[in-house]
């Protein structure tokens, strides 16, 4: 029985990077959104930091989706 550990570990590594990285990014984005929403409710101006963190996190998620589409659609290669 031969297991291609090399390929398997590569798959695991890349999977962790994207599969756990995206929920992390998204979670930070959602947390920032939540702080913004709380500020707006208290009639305070939302902090620029929260807005930019949210925007950056979600932009990174969108980029990952686009990369996934690039991988899936052979016409792009």
């Amino acid at each position: 029985m031969h297991i291609n550990w090399n390929a398997l570990s590569h798959v695991a590594l890349v999977s962790v990077l994207f599969g756990a990285g995206l929920p992390i990014l998204f979670a930070f984005g959602v947390t920032a959104i939540s702080r913004r929403a709380a500020a707006i409710e208290e009639k305070k101006p939302p902090s620029v930091v929260d807005s930019s963190v949210a925007a950056l996190c979600f932009a990174a998620c969108v980029a990952a989706v686009l990369y996934g589409l690039y991988l899936m659609i052979p016409q792009f290669h």
Binding site: M1, H2, I3, N4, A7, L8, H10, V11, A12, V14, S15, V16, L17, F18, G19, A20, L22, P23, I24, F26, A27, F28, G29, V30, T31, I33, S34, R35, A37, A38, C61, V65, G68, L69, L71, M72, I73, P74, Q75
Partner: protein, 407 residues
């Protein structure tokens, strides 16, 4: 018989026509069996309404079928000696796979359609061409090892993603978190669906193309004709839209109670593992990846309870996929090999069996309306000593163990 496809007109024998139809039926079962992989958690968390979820998944499967038509060059990928494969063997293999898909659907078990197909082909080839025509080393290599690796990798990734997502958002407002991840789930589920569509419809296209080549209707090395691409894409999309609600219920509600951050983590894990495995040379089965991810997302949230009895039943299903499909495939292939009468007998018996299972499923139907109601039975974990068996508690109406709906 005369089928017009693009510019090619072909005369096809009775057997070839039957096998093409059977392949499309397999594609259909592949679709409804795998809807759950992408959409179960989105339906469970309410990110998408059930009907919308299956419609979206169907469209993405159809799109996937069209954008990726790089079909397999061999039917079995080296599991059996491809030179020994005849059209009746393919027919037998397909029948074995279809019946296994229908049986596992009845029990609400996610199981790999590719494994069922390979099992059917192995059985049919074994009986028709002898044991030597089966490459057991490749069976271990391409089926058994990935089947163990897939849930472990995907489950680990989803566990980590879920745990961290809850940790990061623990101070955020519950509504923002749940609504946010719910929106994210639409994208993550769509990615899983599309990944599925670019991979699975090709299996059927490959089979039909190779049948046409074997029967001399197409030149060696041809790609799939347009009508094959369209019909295979439509078959899998229709199957997806039909919705394997029984399996969706098991994966969305049965394995564990899924909240939207878990659903998102499970789906991103599935999409990442599927794409990574496809591009880094270690192909993994969609069903095993997605089941592993959902299990992992259950383990990653502290208060979530994983029903290990359900997980165990799913694992048993995976264990039996290959041998069960192989036995049916062997029988069907053997009978079909005797000529057109045999083919008709196999087809009639298979349709009757599938029809009987469908009829049985109607007694306790699972539909878009009740898909999110997992029958509450005795808790999966052994009851704590603090709760003695109370006879007939009027507050909780006793739910008789119902194997059809719960299994």
């Amino acid at each position: 018989m005369h089928i017009v496809g693009g510019l090619i007109e072909m005369d096809l024998s009775f057997l070839v026509v039957v096998v093409i139809i059977t392949a499309l039926v397999f594609d259909f079962t592949n679709g409804f069996h795998d809807t759950a992989n992408a959409m179960a958690t989105s339906i469970a968390t309410g990110a998408l309404r059930p009907k919308v979820a299956v419609a979206l998944s169907a469209v993405l499967n159809l799109v996937g079928a069209f954008i990726s038509t790089a079909v397999a060059k061999t039917i079995s990928g080296g599991l059996v000696d491809d030179s020994k494969i005849t059209v009746p063997i393919i027919f037998g293999g397909l029948v074995g796979a279809i019946l296994w898909n229908v049986v596992t659907w009845y029990f609400g078990l996610p199981s790999s359609s590719s494994h069922a197909l390979f099992g059917g082909l192995i059985g049919a080839t074994w009986v028709a061409a002898g044991r030597d025509a089966v490459n057991f080393q490749n069976v271990v290599q391409k089926i058994i090892i990935p089947a163990v690796a897939a849930p472990v990798v995907a489950g680990g990734v989803a566990l980590l993603g879920t745990f961290l997502a809850y940790r990061i958002t623990r101070r955020a407002r519950k509504t923002s978190v749940h609504d946010g991840f719910r929106s994210g789930q639409i994208a993550s589920a769509s990615m899983v669906s599309l990944a599925h569509g670019t991979g699975d419809a090709q299996k059927t296209m490959g089979i039909i193309t190779l049948v046409l080549i074997t029967s001399g209707s197409l030149a060696k090395g041809s790609g799939p004709p347009v009508w094959v691409i369209i019909s295979a894409g439509l078959a899998i999309a229709l199957g997806t839209y039909f919705g394997g609600w029984r399996i969706i219920r098991t994966m969305g509600k049965g394995l564990t109670e899924v909240e939207s951050p878990q659903g998102f983590a499970a789906e991103t894990s599935s999409a990442s593992v599927l794409l990574a495995s496809a591009h880094l040379g270690f192909p993994l089965s969609t069903t095993q990846v997605c089941s592993g991810s959902i299990l992992g997302s259950g383990l990653g949230r502290r208060r979530a309870q994983v029903r290990w009895s359900v997980a165990g039943r799913i694992a048993m299903g995976w264990l039996f996929t290959l041998p069960a499909a192989a036995v049916v495939g062997a029988l069907s292939g053997e009978v079909a090999n005797s000529g057109n009468a045999g083919v008709v007998i196999v087809a009639v018996v298979a349709v009757a069996a599938a029809g009987a299972i469908y009829a049985a499923s109607r007694r306790k139907p699972v539909t878009a309306e009740n898909v999110n109601e997992y029958p509450s039975r005795a808790p999966a974990t052994p009851a704590t000593p603090a709760t003695p068996a109370t006879p007939a508690d009027p507050a909780t109406p006793a739910t008789p163990a119902d194997p059809a709906a719960a299994a």
